[in-house]
């Protein structure tokens, strides 16, 4: 422990020193409206969900076929050449061929709306399950390949290791066996979409920009409850972001948390309100209502607890004068539940609202506000980098399809779990589908004309909020998808290979539990973590 000079900056009698004002580095911010739903009258829920799958397949089939052609053209086993088949129903028995389609997984524990209806237990939402697999009976899981013509059941040892989930578009190579099942030899995925250059959308050439020493801060799962049990960490976070804590001069000594003035933007990835509050409200009385359900004018003060949102509002209003915020809705937030969740309405933030963009007047595109309440998932450009992130539902749900239990023996927050989460995120990028399991097991808006969950372009930073632990990785477009391999390489951050696409994956932990704030450097995309907490000393031990 070193008693450096900076240590004495504060531990001394008051000085007559003049204090320079510190200014925050500016933020380049250019969000996309990918997930904004039509408003009001134009939002319909009558459509069939099937269209989403067709749209997705139509979009991604050419991409995956292109890759498959490249890989399997001329592939032959025992003199038989692999033939390309257009539709899954055209597959002939005993013939080596390959075909592209959508994965559909039938799993024993997967919620099934038809089953719910026949059993008439549709009044209650099914309780969330840790996994849809039945660990005692893994054979019940059926993997099928589907397109507009029909379904083909896939088998083969390959599938046991290739981790898939409903909604992914892949190409499979193999033959149909005598049971009518398709023996899979190899699979291909669309792989990363084209990655835009930095600053591409801002119309600025990268060379013109002088390198900024900025950082983007990510936090998720603030879990504000409005009670005194709110973590002290939130206070410390506030102090840090406002530049009060830490010293002014020791910013770059290497052992200090980065100078807060370099943080150009805070992204809050969902679950800003504590989930427990809504549960409490429900438990208190039978007629419990969801917190601030839409279309609920007025409230019964006995059933509605405004303190979480009030507390969150004052938190935001306190740091907003200093730092711009992008607030994503999350599972426990007062927004619509089905993905894409629309931004939390700013009427919920009487104080922070002043920093919002003015309400849209007419058709013209308007500038994003200093405080931007955005959708979940959300896509946008920050400091020229493309960000694509969600509040974590997509990862959590896709994970339920994967057989995690057999890795560690338990489905928990172990290291294997975090490894799997990062792999799932990587797989999503390579599937070019950010939310593959919507609309199957994740509630979704029934899109008719396009599937926004398909990634048109590959982000630079891909994040998922509300994960049990922090974890990061870098993936590259060139390296093949090795979900089953022991690819610990991808956790490395050092690299000098700038060709090809590189994506920084970040799983953002729940702040409520870990007190961690994730900072991403806007030049190198290096990640660091600042942890806030209180030292549980002897006082609490006794």
């Amino acid at each position: 422990m070193t008693g450096s000079a900076t240590e004495n900056e504060f531990l001394r009698p008051p000085s007559e020193q003049e204090f320079d004002s510190v200014y925050r580095a500016p933020s380049q911010y250019n969000p996309l409206d990918t997930f904004r739903l039509p408003s009001g009258q134009d939002r319909h829920y009558q459509q069939q969900y099937g269209d989403m799958y067709f749209l997705r397949l139509a979009k991604l089939k050419p991409a995956v076929e292109e890759i498959a052609v490249e890989a399997w053209e001329g592939f032959s086993i025992a003199g038989e050449h692999a033939r390309r088949v257009e539709r899954v129903l055209d597959v002939r028995q005993g013939e080596l061929c390959w075909v592209a389609g959508t994965i559909y997984m039938d799993m024993p524990l997967k919620p099934n709306i038809l089953e719910d209806l026949t059993k008439e237990n549709y009044t209650l939402a099914p309780p969330p399950r840790p996994t849809y697999q039945d660990p005692s009976n893994p054979d019940l899981t059926q993997i099928m390949l589907e397109d507009e013509s029909g379904r083909l059941r896939l088998t083969g040892s390959m599938l046991r290791t290739a981790q898939l989930c409903t909604g992914a578009i892949i190409a499979v190579l193999g033959t149909e066996n005598s049971n009518g099942d398709f023996e899979v030899i190899d699979t291909k995925v669309p792989d990363l979409a084209r990655q835009p250059r930095r600053w591409e959308r801002d119309g600025v050439d990268a060379a013109q920009k002088e390198p900024s020493k900025g950082k983007i801060a990510f936090v998720s799962g603030l879990g504000v409850t409005g009670t005194s049990s709110d973590t002290l960490a939130l206070e410390l976070l506030t102090d840090y972001l406002l530049g009060y804590s830490g010293s002014t001069s020791a910013g770059n000594s290497g052992d200090a948390p980065p100078d807060a003035s370099t943080i150009t933007r805070l992204v809050i990835a969902g679950n800003s309100l504590g989930a427990s509050m809504t549960v409490d409200a429900n438990a208190d009385n039978g007629a419990g209502k969801k917190k601030a359900g839409p279309k609920k004018y007025g409230y019964d003060a006995s059933a509605y607890n405004a303190s979480p949102i009030t507390r969150l509002d004052s938190f935001l209003a306190e740091i907003l004068p200093s730092i711009p915020i992008t607030l994503m809705a999350g599972q426990s937030d007062p927004a619509n539940f089905s993905l894409p969740q629309q931004g939390i309405h700013r009427a919920m933030f009487p104080q922070a609202r002043a920093y919002c963009a003015p309400p849209p007047a007419g058709e013209e595109k308007q500038e994003p506000g200093w405080f931007d309440s955005v959708t979940n998932p959300w896509e946008g450009d920050v400091e020229g980098w493309r960000l694509w992130g969600s509040s974590g539902q997509n990862v959590d749900d896709a994970l339920r399809y994967l057989n995690l239990a057999d890795e560690e023996g338990n489905v928990g927050d172990g290291a294997g779990d975090m490894e799997a989460r990062i792999r799932v995120m990587e797989a999503m990028l390579r599937w070019r589908c950010g939310v593959p399991t919507a609309p199957d097991t994740l509630w979704s808006y029934p899109f008719q004309t396009h599937d926004p969950f398909v990634m048109e372009s590959c982000p630079h930073i891909f994040f998922a909020g509300n994960q049990p632990r922090f974890k990061t990785a870098v993936i590259e477009g060139d390296s093949p998808l090795k979900l089953n391999g022991a690819d610990t390489e991808m956790t490395g951050t050092d690299d000098d290979n700038t060709s090809g696409s590189r994506v920084r994956l970040i799983s953002i932990p729940k702040f409520e539990e870990t007190g961690e704030l994730v900072l991403v450097d806007t030049e190198t995309l290096e990640v660091e973590v600042v942890r806030f907490g209180a030292f549980a000393g002897q006082q609490e031990k006794q």
Binding site: E9, S228, F535
Partner: protein, 451 residues
Amino acid sequence: MAVADYKKYLAENVLNERRTVTYRSLSRALRVHSTLAKQMLYDFHRNENNKKPNSVNATYLLTGIQKAPETTNGYQDSFDENGIPQSSPYLSSSMPNQDAGADDIAVSSILLVREDDLEDAKATFESIASIHVYSLQPTVLQDLNVLTDVHGEMVTNHAQEDPLEHGKSWGMIQGKNVRRRTAGRPPAPAAAPAAPKTTIPAKRPIKSEEKPQPKTDTEEEAPKPKTEPKSQPEPATKREETPTSSKPSEKTAPPKQKGSIFSSFAKAKPKVKKEDSATSTTSAVQSAEPSGAEDVVLGDASDDDEEQEELFPNTGKAAPAGTRESRKEREEKLKKMMEDEDEDEDEEMPDAAQSPEESNPIDEPPPKQPELKEEMTVRGGRRRGRRQIMKKKTVKDDEGYLVTVEEPSWESFSEDEPAPPPKKKPAVSAAKGKPAAKPGQGNIMSFFSKK
């Protein structure tokens, strides 16, 4: 500077009133830089404890890099059951035993520590970048979460100080491009004293006019000053016209502003209506209103709501609400009426029965307490019948007074045209009426209240 005062302030608050003072609350109270506040706390702590040991207890904030990545669990292992630190407690936990994910990642920590644990906590750090006093209190804090309450108190006490103006003196990092809308002063947090709040809005327009201007160097800012006035012309201009004249009237406004957004919503409604008649004279009142009016929207995030938010539909909005409300009320009345019919005839209509008593209180009671009757037949799937209603008659009596008499009369009705004449009538005559019956004048809260 307030350097001389801080001892007095701290002595008063910490020693006499036995409160907890954090560096931020001190910085706010004395309007000094946060660094200076930290130094003051340190100085006070040292001096007092020199005079009388343990008279003041401190908490410290340590920043730096901790040894074990998993601190939260690490230090818990390092105490045995008796709460006594083991001899070399932190070495064991400093072994990197976690997965390969976090290895290259720089993890710095900001840790709040009690005075007693300071040395223990320091030992968990590999290097310490800074350490400062976070708070002072007369005794050891059992629960560090108390500090959040101190913070909350501080925020509410100083809610009237605009952080955009004062942030500099506190040592806050300032955003150069902060954009804040001029319209819609956010209402005070519920607990805040409302009175001082009102001095702010007058300053606001000047402030935010100045702010966006100098940073036009970045290209995205350029259109800003243009769009902003356009999208919300009304409130902005109103504000600027009456910055000084609005002050006295705003002084009266505060009680309206405090409380939840709903209450301001409720209050705002009648005001907006009044503008119809007296638009020119009430500009002062109006300038206090926008925050209330803006609160109107609390539905889903659909945009059609939002357009109204800024456009101040002061004429249109109240009336539809009124009619909607009265319609609802009417429906309910109708339903009740039907129930009554179902039960039996000869049921007294409560509303109609009350009204005669009220409308002619001086007179001798009306000759007959009218009992409203209904005759009803069901024919061919359709209900028809007659019912007795009260009709009002005004006659001049012998002494020349106008006397209003209610007389029962019969009227036929059928199920198809359930227009409720019996209900309309009392609404006109009865002085009290139901709030819904007066279109447009209704309190909007009654619309929201549970039926």
